[in-house]
């Protein structure tokens, strides 16, 4: 009995210690490619609004399945347009809340300095061990990479060297660990504050692939949440846009 009492006191104190000083909590599911900018944006939003943002990062496909099965998210930032569109058709979002929060840019990257100049010469020469790209079936960055390869007429020539990541984070890992000489990654992964962080890269002109539009939606669960609506609006603010641009994304 005494043990039971002390246990309940401990449990009660946990409850009391949990942060309740915030006005409201927002749960956001965020595509992994947008991890770093979203952390910055959420921090700014928390400071300005006093609300608390709880971020979950992962693949859009998994979030889609989770949301359809009752996951407690208010906001969903997808890596593409298909999943928000499918959710809209299924009536799982607040009507008219869907918009493009970022347009991704593609880069060919090597972790080795001076391995590529800012052009397609290395890719065309075939002088590399392997080429990492995101699986085009799953990731919009993979679709864009395929378009670039096709445009250069090197799809068949390079096919035997392809290594596919399940998503753009994994593709980045293959290149950054040196397992592949080259890889198509998101510009946002190798860029910080307007500069390429390491290695060498070709920032691919945006006319060589279709725009990688990433859509955000307000989910049904957020119907009565001012904080969730506030976060979606904040994504369109100048502060948020500046953060988004500094990681190499464009906006509309």
């Amino acid at each position: 009995m005494r043990l039971f009492n002390s246990l309940s006191i401990i449990l009660l104190s946990f409850l009391m210690l949990s942060p309740s000083s915030y006005a409201e909590e927002v749960h956001a599911a965020v595509a992994s490619n947008f991890t770093t900018p979203m952390k910055d944006i959420a921090k700014q939003y928390e400071e300005e609004s006093g609300n608390k943002v709880i971020l979950s990062f992962g693949s859009s496909g998994k979030f889609f399945a989770q949301i359809q099965n009752g996951a407690p998210f208010d906001v969903f930032l997808s890596a593409d347009q298909n999943k928000p569109d499918a959710l809209e058709k299924a009536g799982a979002i607040i009507p008219n809340s869907r918009f493009t929060y970022a347009i991704g840019a593609l880069a060919l990257w090597s972790s080795k300095a001076d391995f590529i100049d800012n052009n397609n010469a290395r890719l065309k020469s075939g002088d590399f061990n392997k080429l990492a790209l995101a699986n085009p079936k799953l990731a919009p960055y993979g679709v864009a990479a395929m378009e670039v390869l096709k445009g250069l007429g090197v799809t068949e020539k390079t096919r035997s060297k392809w290594v596919m990541g399940e998503n753009i984070s994994q593709t980045y890992q293959f290149v950054s660990t040196g397992n592949t000489d080259l890889g198509f990654v998101a510009l946002s992964q190798i860029m910080s504050k307007g500069h390429i962080k390491s290695g060498s890269s070709w920032i691919i002109p945006s006319d060589q692939y279709s725009p990688i539009r990433q859509d955000a939606v307000l989910l049904k669960k957020a119907e009565n949440s001012a904080a969730a609506k506030g976060l979606i609006d904040y994504l369109r603010s100048d502060t948020a846009r500046n953060i988004i641009h500094s990681y190499g994304y464009k906006t509309e």
Binding site: G61, N135, W162, E166, Q170, F174, T177, N179
Partner: protein, 227 residues
């Protein structure tokens, strides 16, 4: 009903799991034998190392294998010295990673079975002038057979169900590293739930049949042993 790439993934998974099980029995048996019979101080540390893959989440294990087997890692440098290039994104890279990942599942049942035999039967065999190899094949192997069968079942099924490690070091190459678990994941991520359900159902039925036949075999076997 199944697409060509689904069938390819099933065949590949079967090939990987079979190869890994054979290799694990070959290297797991001496390790288990040594662990079961040694009085060395190294027994503790070696047992702990064998059990380590159980602790690390598979994707984490896979990530470090990717680094270790990559061009700058110690395994990668060794394989490059030997002139076989680097292992990630190849069939044999998958085999090496799976062997490491499934090792405890094979070593521990064999070790337990050998420990259960004890010293006595071996001493008796020795007085009958059986050499050490003879003792192993005519005494240990038959007596520890259930342990070996359990080890093979666990090694095989654990490799079939492997996902995180393959995801990290595989690179999703058809016929090389795109196993069933990855193929199902791809279907789910692409919102092709129908194909995912079909493939998952086949995987479950197949595994159930394999396990059922092996366990019934094992049961019969121990009954014969009891006669």
């Amino acid at each position: 009903m199944l697409s060509a790439s689904d069938l390819e993934a099933i065949w590949l998974t079967f090939k990987v799991a079979t190869t890994v099980t054979v290799i694990l029995l070959l290297i797991g048996t001496p390790i288990a034998w040594w662990l079961a019979r040694t009085r060395s101080r190294l027994k503790g540390p070696i047992s702990a190392i064998v059990a380590l893959p159980l602790v690390l989440p598979p994707t984490v294990l896979g990530f470090y294998l990717l680094i270790a087997m990559g061009p700058n890692g110690f395994i990668g440098q060794l394989t490059q010295e030997l002139g076989i290039g680097t292992l990630p994104f190849t069939f044999w890279g998958l085999i090496v990673a799976s062997v490491f990942y499934s090792l405890p599942f094979v070593v521990q049942p064999i070790q337990n079975a050998i420990e259960a035999i004890g010293e006595r039967p071996l001493e008796v065999a020795a007085t009958l002038r059986a050499g050490s190899w003879d003792r192993f094949f005519t005494v240990v192997l038959p007596l520890a057979k259930p342990g070996f069968i359990t080890a093979a079942i666990l090694g095989f099924t654990h490799t079939v169900g492997e996902f995180g490690v393959v995801l990290m070091i595989g690179g999703n190459i058809p016929g090389q590293t795109r196993v069933v678990s990855v193929q199902i994941y791809d279907h789910v991520e692409a919102l092709e739930y129908d194909q995912a359900h079909k493939l998952a159902a086949i995987m479950i039925i197949f595994s159930f049949v394999v396990l059922l036949s092996l366990y019934s075999f094992q049961r019969k076997n121990t009954l014969w042993g009891a006669k």
